[in-house]
């Protein structure tokens, strides 16, 4: 890796935590240059198709409770905050990324989203991919393959472009490179004590999605990895060890995606004396652990890669457990904490399976439900602190 370190670490972390905001301006400029933008919600959407079409994909999952009130004018109160906030930002026209999106691509992951997309379709141009809910049936795979091809046609028609196999292959390679680097970033925390806090790791993982220039993104990630490694090798361990056990309990976070308002989950864990070493969720390892097969037919490769994401909407969902188990070993986890967003049925129910899986491996586990408000911070604190005292 070339020697690129120039900025101090705090500045690097800030550039990631600030990325979502900074990205607004970048995106505005790109739009003015005539670039097309595609907004997405879930990890299941094969963004390589958009990259191959010369478009900019951007994540629209909202992470703030700012527009939940607006959303509740239409949507029920007792609904996942991610769905409410995402719709709310569109309805209130407050999310610049939603505003700039020429096309919004959703998928039939959960019931809440499926029905929300119907309403969102009245505000934006929405294309919904039909996601099968099982990974092991040939018919499921065939459906997903057809859906990827249908998305390709839709994108080509909407933007008047042709997605060639060559371009698609290049997009796959590009995205794989980013995945590999982000994996390298979070794997830094395999070290004990970890060289960065779970909050810093989260800010990098979350922030990267709002950096839109591939080469620059690669450079910045390499710089970040270099800088963190060097600082650590120089004997600076930013995550202090506790006097008693020599190191802080190492926690893996699983469950629903984390970012923005739900950063509180990581904050509470780390304020209680533990450190988050890895995220087995869509903000973390679930997105970056694997690579899209580069030597295969690009459509076959994309189909296999995306269908096999271990989200709780799949039944059965063995891939989540496989990844979680592997992360527990690799990161020497002392405990696993799950964040379930209010009214997320699939994660809430799967919680039991995850608990049994971890019990068999003797890893303490607790699941906590939360939403985008700050109202339950004290309750989260008491439960989390008790869990950490238990370890």
């Amino acid at each position: 890796m070339p020697e690129t370190t120039s900025r101090p670490l705090p500045e690097i972390f800030e550039s990631f935590s600030d990325a979502r905001k900074q990205g607004f301006i970048t995106m505005k400029n790109l739009k003015e240059q005539g670039k097309g933008v595609v907004g997405t919600f879930c990890s299941y959407v094969p963004v390589e198709l958009f990259l191959a079409a010369g478009l900019i994909p951007v994540g629209l999952c909202s992470t703030s409770d700012e527009t939940i009130g607006e959303a509740e004018k239409v949507l029920p109160r007792n609904l996942c905050p991610l769905i409410k906030a995402s719709y709310g930002f569109a309805a209130a026209d407050k999310c610049p990324y939603m505003y700039f999106s020429d096309l919004v691509v959703g998928e039939t992951t959960c019931d809440g989203k499926i029905k929300m997309y119907e309403l969102l379709g009245k505000i934006k141009d929405v294309h919904v991919m039909e996601l099968p809910h099982s990974q092991d049936k040939p018919s499921s795979r065939a459906l997903w393959m057809a859906e990827i091809k249908r998305l390709k046609t839709r994108v080509e028609e909407k933007f008047g472009v042709t997605i060639t196999e060559e371009k698609l292959h290049r997009a796959i390679t590009e995205r794989n490179r980013e995945r590999a680097l982000l994996k390298k970033v979070y794997e830094l925390s395999v070290m004990d004590p970890p060289p960065l806090s779970g909050l810093e790791q989260l800010q990098i993982l979350f922030g990267t999605q709002f950096k839109f220039d591939h080469e620059q993104k690669i450079r910045e990630m390499e710089e970040t990895i270099n800088s963190i490694t060097k600082t650590y090798q120089n004997g600076k361990h930013p995550v202090p060890s506790t006097a008693k056990t020599a190191s802080r309990p190492r926690i893996i976070v699983t469950g629903c995606p984390i970012g923005g308002a739900t950063e509180k989950f990581t904050r509470v864990i780390e304020e209680s004396g533990a450190v988050v070493v890895a995220y087995e969720n869509c903000t973390g390892a679930k997105q970056f652990d694997r690579q899209v097969e580069e030597s295969a037919d690009p459509y076959e490769a994309l189909c296999d890669y995306y269908l096999n994401i271990g989200c709780s909407v799949m039944s059965p969902n063995p891939n989540r457990l496989e990844l979680l188990g592997r992360l527990c070993d690799q990161f020497k986890a002392d405990g696993v904490l799950e964040m379930v967003l209010q009214s997320c049925h699939t994660y809430a129910i799967e919680s039991h399976t995850v608990g049994e899986f971890l019990k068999a491996r003797n890893i303490p586990f607790m699941s906590l439900e939360t939403d985008y408000s700050a109202g339950d911070t004290e309750q989260l604190k008491t439960r989390t602190a008790a869990f950490i005292e238990m370890l």
């Binding site: 008693k244 607790m366 439900e369 109202g375 309750q379 008491t382 008790a386 005292e389 238990m390």
Partner: protein
């Protein structure tokens, strides 16, 4: 010597623990100024120490644990109740704590928490729910025990404490007795705790800590609903404070 203070939402409890065991207890209503009540409890306990030394470590727990002055360490009430119950009854396996604003069921092994369940943002099943009814009846815990001893009850349909209060007003208007309503309240509380207990493995011995620890009536309704004996834990009110003291400065 060490002092444990359990600054709860309703009562502030303190224990002075010495080499020969518990040397003093103190309890005060928490009021609105958590810091003040904790200071008062602390001052009272210090009054028991001859040649007062300032260096006695103070360990705090409870809802106001971060507010108490002079704390050396703050621990959660979950670990504290488990540890305190173990001190009072070695070998205890399940602790039911009914606090002023929450209730929890804790599975314990050798004084350590194995797992726990706590009620969410809701007053159902908490001490506040009981207190509300006692206030309406102008009763204290000993009168409540007398009412419960009658073994009568009327089914309360509301699980929400606020709705239950209006339901109770309606029942009084229909002529139901205090015995029946108190019995209904205790059963509603026990069912709520039963739903938490179902999620941790309930092993005997089971004890009750917190503000209702002294109530034989609540214990017997709980025993009946949970289908296992909930034992009397003398000084169970102080389990949190005692546990904090036992956990020490870390």
């Amino acid at each position: 010597m060490i002092i444990g203070i359990d600054c709860g939402s309703t009562l502030c409890k303190g224990v002075l623990l010495g080499t020969n065991g518990i040397e003093a207890f103190s309890v005060l209503p928490t009021g609105w100024d958590l810091q003040k009540s904790a200071s008062q409890v602390l001052a009272e306990l210090k009054g028991y120490i001859s040649n007062t030394v300032d260096t006695i470590p103070v360990i705090t727990t409870g809802y106001g644990r971060d507010m108490a002055p002079e704390r050396k360490r703050a621990v959660t009430e979950i670990s504290a109740h488990a540890r305190g119950a173990e001190y009072l009854m070695p070998g205890v396996r399940t602790v039911i704590d009914i606090g002023g604003q929450d209730c929890k069921v804790i599975a314990v092994e050798n004084g350590r928490v194995v797992s726990f369940q706590m009620n969410d943002k809701c007053a159902a099943g908490t001490g506040r729910f009981v207190q509300m009814i006692l206030e309406r009846f102008n009763a204290d815990i000993s009168l409540m025990d007398k009412l419960l001893a009658a073994g009568k009850f009327v089914q309360l349909n509301s699980t929400c404490a606020v709705f239950a209060e209006s339901e109770i007003i309606g029942l009084l208007a229909k002529g139901y007795s205090r015995e029946e309503i108190a019995g209904g309240m205790a059963r509603s509380l026990a069912v709520k705790i039963g739903s938490l207990a179902a999620r941790v493995s309930l092993h005997a011995p089971v004890v009750l800590t917190g503000g209702l620890a002294e109530s034989s009536g609540i214990r017997s309704v709980l025993s009946e609903t949970l289908n296992c004996e909930v034992q009397y834990l003398p000084q169970g009110l102080y389990a949190g404070a005692l546990g904090a003291a036992c956990m020490g400065p870390g």
